[in-house]
């Protein structure tokens, strides 16, 4: 924890240019299925960030759902069956 704090303090001194920000925002935009196909000059940075937040939230929800499913599977699959699958996966 302490190392992280000191690091953030160091980097706080460097100036951030608008170009850098725009570059990073357009990179983010390319990752969003909702905004990927629209031109970058037509989408505001705020919109990109908003979509990013909801996209991450969706992904988190998906991971939660999958964890739940997988734990149900763990509870139900019998050991013999799981062993076969394990062997298949480990090949």
């Amino acid at each position: 924890m302490s190392s992280r704090r000191s690091r953030s303090r160091q980097s706080g001194t460097s100036r951030i240019t608008d170009d850098q920000i725009n570059d990073l925002v357009s990179k983010l935009q390319q990752l969003l299925p909702e905004l990927r196909n629209s031109r970058s000059d037509k989408v505001s940075a705020a919109k990109v960030l908003q979509e990013t937040c909801s996209y991450i939230r969706n992904l988190h929800r998906e991971v939660d759902g999958l964890s739940e499913r997988l734990s149900e599977l763990l509870a139900t699959t019998d050991t013999a069956q799981a062993a076969i699958i394990r062997n298949l996966l480990m090949q």
Binding site: Q10, L28, L66, L70, L73, A82
Partner: protein, 156 residues
């Protein structure tokens, strides 16, 4: 550990994927062997931990995620309630100070929200926040893909 860099060379996504798959399956097997309760939480933690380990310590978000997992485990083991409160207060103070720096200057209201979603985001400056977010999203997509295929194989 490396000092902060703004290079956008992300680690090779396919190798993160294979490392994550291997690590997650190993953890999955371990959970299965032990057959202890609270499986849901343990699968979730295994998935997050494997992802962070697959990415390694180069990324701030993966370091923060690992730290969070360890901290949670430590907190569950010990019951130092006073200490917990203290840490929480420290965090709050830090957050308030940080927010005034770049976010409002650049006019990103949603950066605040993003900081809560990306592990370790509260301690980052805006530039690294955006950079880390992009990498984090890529890794989350990989995580979902792998977990989906594990699910498919297992439910056959």
């Amino acid at each position: 550990m490396n000092p902060k860099t703004y290079h956008h060379i992300s680690s090779n996504p396919s190798s993160v994927k294979s490392r994550f798959t291997r690590g997650f399956l190993r953890a999955f097997k371990k959970i299965k062997r032990q057959q202890r309760p609270y499986l849901y939480g343990r699968v979730k933690i295994a998935a997050d931990k494997s992802l962070a380990l697959a990415v390694g310590s180069r990324r701030a978000w993966s370091r923060a995620l690992l730290w969070k997992i360890h901290y949670k485990a430590w907190r569950q083991r010990s019951r130092f309630n006073n200490k917990k409160k203290l840490l929480k207060e420290n965090k709050k103070n830090k957050k308030n100070k940080k927010k005034k720096n770049d976010d409002e200057e650049v006019g990103f209201r949603h950066a605040k929200e993003l900081r809560k979603l990306v592990p370790g985001g509260e301690a980052m400056d805006l530039c690294s926040l955006l950079d880390e977010t992009a990498h984090y999203i890529k890794c989350l997509i990989t995580q979902v893909q792998v977990m989906k295929s594990v699910d498919q194989i297992y439910s056959f």
